[in-house]
């Protein structure tokens, strides 16, 4: 370890910025605005829900630089070490000209009050680098983490659809983004040893799994930090003082997605974007869930394993992973153990993790023939909402009979939980609407949901049952739209 005088280094506008004495819980947004005086990036909510703070992070990924939007308001500064940060101020060309994304926003009258605009510009810029000619649905998807209260979004969507029509800019064209110079600069920031900061509350970014496991076992009171999309709020919203931080994002072994022995393995540092890509490749019916989980900046920061380990009762990946029979690989010091996900949750935000133990990998079984799978999320808003109810379903049919059923719900109990009585009411019964209806009645035995701001208990129970019916209808007649998302897409 390099000791107390270590500093955070990142690339900004072609230069290396060195942050020496910032507290590890300083957010990237705070640092940009307060220390560097770059006030183009805005704070709208300080919880990653409005997108006014969106910036792009660039990171070496093999031969390329991967550029992704993130929410700077909940991103701790040390986690951008070794990366490139692009803000709205970065985009003007050397002659002062606006970038095509900015030009399109201007030409399509896509700003009114302008406060959200830098965030939209950066989300669109991320898409500009990614997709040479984005479709309308891709534009809308890329903007799902950005709120605008003035425009109604129409001109912003139009700007996104047309930004590719503008002449290539001098700076930050797709080619320039991958220039050798930019790569060399990032390459120069590669570390030989882990970043360690002594400023309160302390920060370590181990580079190997062994080092991580050793550190955490030795200091089990530390807080593991991956994407920080929840931990960030502990600071910005709950104003908590955090224990020393151990960052997972530099551990090479944890950044891997693998498939072997009938298992998709998702490492603890794999961002949700990449985790969902691997899952949806095998389970295409989960594409809508993937799209509706958080927003691109949240999925680019947050990790699947973080979502699992965090143990929120309303995490949207757990129900379907429990239904699929997924497990987690736990590691403590040199020891590992595997645990079924449905045994992992001990109570409200409590898991079976021992002190000093961490989730190293999520293990998801690959599809099995004859097994029908779905996950449905219901909230007040289609995009970027926390679900009132989220259901995961895996039902195996043999002939016209339900051979087995695994069903789990989020939003129905203090933990994401299997509906065991409902499963029992389905097993061995004929695959029919009547079976689903009678099984839905068993849900009241499985769950006693609460009433809160997201929904009432009666609604939750009713919808949980109706989603069973949807599952049946959707598989009986895949052509008939049985949900708004599908309906809207076919109608449009």
């Amino acid at each position: 370890m390099s000791g107390a005088c270590d500093s955070i280094r990142f690339v900004l506008d072609g230069r290396v910025v060195e942050a020496r004495d910032a507290a590890p819980t300083t957010t990237l947004l705070q640092y940009l605005r307060e220390t560097l005086g770059r006030t183009g990036t805005k704070e709208g909510c300080a919880e990653g829900d409005c997108g006014a703070c969106t910036v792009i992070l660039g990171e070496l990924d093999g031969e390329r630089i991967a550029y992704r939007p993130v929410n700077s308001c909940i991103r701790f500064l040390p986690t951008v070490d070794g990366k490139s940060v692009i803000t709205v101020e970065s985009l003007r060309g050397p002659d002062g000209s606006l970038h095509p994304v900015q030009r399109a926003m201007l030409d399509y009258h896509a700003s009114q009050c302008g406060f959200c605009t830098p965030g939209f510009v950066m989300s669109l810029f991320g898409l500009y680098l990614d997709a040479p000619r984005p479709r309308r649905a891709e534009v809308i998807g890329a903007l799902s983490g950005n709120l605008c209260r003035c425009t109604g979004y129409r001109p912003i969507i139009d700007a996104g659809c047309c930004m590719a029509d503008y002449p290539e800019p001098l700076a930050w064209s797709r080619r320039d983004a991958q220039s050798g110079e930019r790569r060399a600069l990032l390459d120069s920031l590669r570390r030989g040893a882990a970043l360690a900061l002594a400023t309160e509350p302390g920060y370590h970014a181990p580079m190997s799994l062994d080092e991580l496991a050793r550190l955490y076992e030795a200091a089990p009171h530390s807080l593991l930090l991956a994407g920080g999309t929840d931990v960030g709020l502990w600071v910005t919203k709950q104003l908590r003082e955090l224990p020393p931080l151990i960052y997972l994002g530099e551990v090479a072994e944890l950044k891997r997605v693998r498939e072997a022995d009938g298992i998709i393995g998702i490492g603890a540092a794999v961002a949700l974007t990449d985790a969902f890509a691997a899952i949806v490749a095998r389970y295409p019916m989960l594409a809508e869930l993937a799209e509706r989980f958080g927003s691109p900046p949240i999925r680019n920061s947050g990790t699947l394993c973080g979502n699992l380990a965090n143990g929120s009762p309303i995490g949207d990946v757990m129900p379907v992973l429990i239904a699929l029979g997924a497990s987690v690989l736990l590691r403590r010091g040199g020891a590992t153990r595997e645990m079924a996900l449905d045994e992992f949750y001990a109570g409200y935000r409590k898991t079976a993790l021992a002190p000093g133990e961490l989730v190293a990998e999520a293990r998801i079984p690959v599809p099995r023939p004859g097994r029908l799978v779905a996950s449905y999320k219901v909230g007040k808003r289609f995009d970027q909402d926390i679900s009132a109810v989220c259901g995961g379903y895996a039902i195996e049919l043999r002939g016209g009979t339900i051979a087995s059923a695994r069903i789990a719900y989020g939003g129905m109990a203090a933990v994401p939980q299997r509906a065991r009585r409902t499963e029992a009411a389905l097993a061995g019964r004929p695959w029919s609407e009547a079976t689903m209806a009678s099984a839905a009645e068993a849900l009241a035995l499985d769950f006693r949901p609460i009433t809160d701001m997201r929904a009432g208990n009666g609604y939750r129970l009713q919808v949980a049952g109706n989603l069973l019916r949807r599952f049946y209808l959707e598989h009986r007649d895949p052509e008939a739209p049985s949900r708004i998302g599908v309906f809207a897409r076919t109608a449009a």
Binding site: A46, L98, H109, C113, C116, R149, V378, K380
Partner: protein, 783 residues
């Protein structure tokens, strides 16, 4: 009067010019209050908010707050040098609570510290013991308890109670209409900078700099001339920065005065949503009598709103609900009573539409109920009740409608949207009993333009021409994104015949243009455009007089256009003439003033002409509704909206589209939810859901009505556009009702409450399907 030709030719006005700040917006260079560099030593403040809805503070121990790292000062009610009030009308809004807490989220004290984070952490450390008191938390409880912030107001025309029994049909109904958080992307913020000799400069994100000036002066025990309030731009306002910014400005100024250091108070999003007022939620109960064609013959209606703990702007908000409970419909015999309920919740305030939307929601529910009862197309019932052009054209508050263009709008939109064919297609689709049902609705908008209180309908402006021909414009209006500064600059550019680039707009500043009205009631361009035009005209006339004198020309021979001045047969640059005029000692600076003509209102009888004119529009929305989950989605919208002769079509279209989606959010996904203790639990974007890009309809046809100059003499015959389009979204709510209507037995209207969340929709479906249970809509008896 030939209104097509009496307006001067406008070169700049009417063009689709970009927002004056757009290049700064897209590059991140536009400065909002939080972006302005402040002197070193600036302190950061945070408010401490109460945790209970109603009670007495028994003890408040602030030792831990004062001892917290970074804390420099704490201000409580004892530290207010002057008046402890930020209420705009009545003095019933304490900046800091004394010993009485009246809502959960009420500011109790403020902390100034060396950083934003340190101030917030310290504010949370107070030890407070409360003695809880019973709390009234909603409209129905307040009605039952007779708890009001202001006296009830009623309005009657004709004899509805006598006419009701004579009607061919009668029905009773009820509607609950939720509130709405403004969710401006830039939260409330103010920076107070002490100046010499007791003066205070306040940078405030406010729609009403003059009111902030006065309230800060009162709080500091100073006079108005000691306080300067400046606002270059807001990151959104929507009414939420009309009366609410004064709280933040006062608290910052009190701490600045106490410490002698600049203090910035930026509310965290959650604090902002907990502490500041929202759109009033309403209940409407009604009984209506009507004929076989759906024509209303008598209406008795009760409107009650949740005002919260104090009056704020609730008086005028509820008055506007009263004056808009007709929407587009002639109500011959009508009685409406409006109750202004006092509850132990945050004090509700102005929000785009200002009570109008709620009044219109109520009458549209009446119309839809009638249509369902009669099994007629709701559009036919709407049209049967439209105001006439030359008869049936006096509103229930006695104003003759002189500019009715509803029929023209309705004809065109009905055709262009293919409303009738699509209704048939949708009926066929729904007849198959699908999981995803569809619905369609046409709703009109008629919205009165002017502040209800006549005295606010005035404005001032200040225009300087410098000797290089550049122009600096200042006026009392504020820029919150609506494009006011662009429009007013366009008007001034036209008046002086210079390109828009020659005009620089400057921040609203109480030391430049005094005694301003709030930028509100959609009146910004009407008032400030005219005032600035008058100022520019004064300068132009001085220049013309000078040129006539010097070059011996008749005034008609002098024309200002394209940055040049035509002087008979010669042409000179505008800058050259300005320089010459300066040398000849001609004043190149002028103020302008405007007051709206024709308006008057008698509060005692609740009659008069409160509005200079009306803005009109209509929308047809189509929705899909998932009957398993209650989720809904707008699949198509067609809008035809009246902006008079547009000053800037791009900006006006932006207002129409943005207003529509904001209204759709209000009526669908945006739900404010309080728990049984009166704590608002939807106080951040993670729990309060405004529309996202996905929610803009996949198919949208938005048009501004062409060849429709304002009948009244407004600036270039334009019309106000800020608020009216919001109410186009009432069509979304009614399209959802339409989708649900077929779920029950025919002749029954869905009892859908707003917002139409998935839960509200499933509840309405359950109500329709539970046979034998009479919904509120089916209670009335036919004749």
């Amino acid at each position: 009067m030939n209104i097509a030709t009496d307006a001067p030719a406008a070169a700049v006005s009417g063009s689709e010019l970009a927002h004056e700040s757009a290049p700064l917006h897209v590059s991140g260079e536009a400065l909002y209050v939080d972006d302005v560099p402040l002197p070193s030593g600036t302190l950061h403040a945070a408010l401490a908010l109460s945790r209970i809805a109603h009670g007495r503070i028994r003890t408040m121990d602030l030792r831990a707050v004062r001892a917290a790292p970074g804390v420099v000062a704490v201000a409580t009610v004892a530290d207010v040098p002057g008046e402890n009030n930020y209420g705009p009308v009545l003095k019933d809004d304490p900046i800091f609570t004394d010993d009485l807490v009246q809502y959960a989220g009420q500011p109790m004290f403020a902390v100034a510290a060396t950083s934003h984070h340190a101030a917030r952490r310290a504010a949370a450390l107070a030890q407070i013991e409360y003695e809880p008191l019973p709390a009234i938390l909603n409209v129905r409880s307040a009605l039952a308890a007779g708890s009001f912030v202001l006296p009830s107001q009623s309005l009657r025309r004709g004899d509805p109670r006598a006419m009701l029994p004579r009607a061919r049909h009668r029905l009773r109904g009820s509607l609950t209409i939720g509130g709405q958080d403004h969710f401006y992307l830039e939260g409330q913020i103010a920076a107070a900078l002490p100046q010499e000799n007791g003066a205070m400069l306040v940078l405030s994100s406010t729609q009403h700099p003059t009111e902030v000036q006065h309230l800060v002066a009162h709080a500091l025990g100073r006079r108005a001339h000691d306080v300067t309030v400046r606002c270059r731009r807001m990151g959104g306002g929507f009414g939420g920065k009309e009366s609410q910014p004064a709280l933040f400005a006062c608290a910052a100024a009190i701490l600045a005065a106490k410490t002698g250091r600049p203090v910035k108070l930026r509310a965290d999003r959650d604090d902002d949503m907990l502490a500041t007022g929202k759109r009033h939620d309403f209940v409407a109960d009604y009984e209506v009598g009507f004929e076989a064609d759906g024509r209303i013959t008598a209406l008795v209606m009760m409107l009650a709103s949740r005002c919260g703990y104090s009056a704020d702007l609730s008086g005028p908000v509820n008055d506007r609900a009263l004056t808009h409970a007709d929407n587009a419909y002639f109500l011959e015999h009508v009685e409406i009573v409006s109750h202004r309920c006092k509850t132990h919740t945050v004090s509700n305030t102005a929000f785009r539409g200002f009570g109008g939307p709620q009044g219109m929601m109520a009458i549209e529910a009446v119309i839809d109920d009638i249509a369902r009862r009669l099994e007629r197309d709701p559009l036919d019932v709407r049209r049967a009740n439209f105001y006439g052009v030359t008869e049936r054209n006096v509103t229930h508050y006695g104003m003759t409608i002189e500019d009715n263009i509803l029929h023209r709008i309705a004809d065109r939109l009905e055709a262009s949207s293919r409303y009738r064919e699509r209704r048939r297609e949708i009926e066929e689709h729904n007849a198959t009993g699908p999981v995803v049902r569809r619905g369609i609705a046409f709703t009109p908008v008629k919205f009165g333009i002017s502040f209800n209180a006549p005295q606010f309908n005035q404005a001032g402006a200040l225009v300087h021409v410098y000797t290089d021909g550049s122009v600096l414009l200042n006026h009392g209006g504020t820029e919150m994104g609506q494009g006011l500064y662009t429009k007013v600059a366009q008007v001034v550019a036209d008046e002086l015949g210079v390109p828009l680039a020659a005009v620089r707009v400057s921040a609203a500043d109480t030391s430049k243009v005094p005694n301003t009205s709030a930028t509100a009631a959609s009146s910004g361009s009407d008032l400030n455009g005219k005032a600035a035009q008058a100022a520019a005209r004064t300068i132009r006339e001085r220049l013309t007089a000078y040129a006539c004198d010097k070059y011996r020309l008749a005034p008609e021979a002098v024309r200002f256009e394209g940055g040049r001045v035509v002087l008979g047969d010669a042409v000179t640059e505008f800058a050259t003439l300005a320089r010459e005029a300066y040398m000849a000692r001609i004043q190149l600076s002028a103020t302008g003033y405007y007051r709206t003509p024709k308006i008057h209102f008698d509060r005692a009888t609740f009659t008069g002409r409160p509005f200079f004119y009306f803005a009109y529009g209509a929308a047809v929305s189509e929705v899909a509704v998932d009957t398993l989950t209650g989720e809904s989605r707008v699949t198509r919208v067609d809008i035809l909206h009246d902006v008079g002769r547009s000053l800037n079509q791009a900006l006006d279209r932006g207002q129409v589209e943005g207003g529509f989606l904001q209204g759709a959010g209000w009526l669908t996904s945006e739900e404010l939810w309080w728990n049984e203790n009166g704590e608002l639990k939807t106080h951040s974007p993670s729990t309060y859901k405004i529309p996202t890009a996905y929610d803009w309809p996949a198919e949208a046809h938005v048009e501004l009505l062409e060849n429709s100059p304002n009948r009244e003499d407004t600036v270039f015959r334009s019309k106000a556009v800020g608020e009216p389009p919001l109410m186009l979204a009432i069509s979304v709510f009614h399209a959802i009702r339409d989708a649900l209507a077929g779920c029950g037995k025919t002749g029954t209207a869905p009892a859908l409450s707003a917002p139409a969340t998935p839960e509200s929709i499933l509840r309405a479906i359950a109500g329709l399907r539970s046979a034998g249970t009479a919904g509120p809509d089916s209670a009335g008896g036919g004749a």
